[in-house]
Symmetry: C2
Subunit: 105 residues, 2 copies
């Protein structure tokens, strides 16, 4: 689903990743983290797709909200497990959305 | 593939889309545009994934390069066809990448 975001500026975290073969608890943790993020102040939504490459973009009201999410206890556990088990490689990019526009039929 | 980007700041265009059923010339145009983008000064690369939702993130050295690409003749034709034929809905977000970090096994 395309996230309904407010008028810019707002912030985006682009998380691009390549998984390992290890699926251990990945789906459960992924669902749990999505639920937790939704409860956090400043979270606007996420657009997430995976083929071999995964691209997940989460949107946030402020940089502070991104920082608080980065340090969320359950998220810290997931980050550690991500490095040890789930991901072969990833990149995180923190962005300021300066302009946007859309189209709908 | 995860794009090798330079030290921030650089720029990202997040293109999130939902397709129509119409596939007419879509793959050809998509490949052609990727080739053209690669030839443009300031283009750094693209990360693109589609399930039902498509998320494509292209990276650029400057906002000017993004503007030039937006007005590229072949790209203008594709944008028009995108609205008329290929896309049900899309959103374009122009971002400044302020910070990044990565992990590799």
């Amino acid at each position: 689903m395309i996230v309904k975001t407010p008028k810019p500026p707002y912030f985006a975290v682009i998380f691009t990743s390549i998984r390992t073969e290890a699926a251990e608890n990945y789906a459960e943790m992924s669902n749990k983290l999505q639920e937790l993020a939704k409860q956090q102040a400043g979270f606007l939504g996420e657009e997430s797709v995976r083929e071999n490459l995964g691209v997940s973009v989460s949107y946030w009201e402020t940089l502070e909200a991104i920082q608080i999410w980065k340090n969320n206890a359950a998220h810290l556990v997931a980050q550690e497990k991500g490095k040890n088990v789930w991901y072969e490689k990833y990149k995180v990019r923190i962005c300021k959305v300066e302009r946007d526009y859309g189209f709908e039929k």
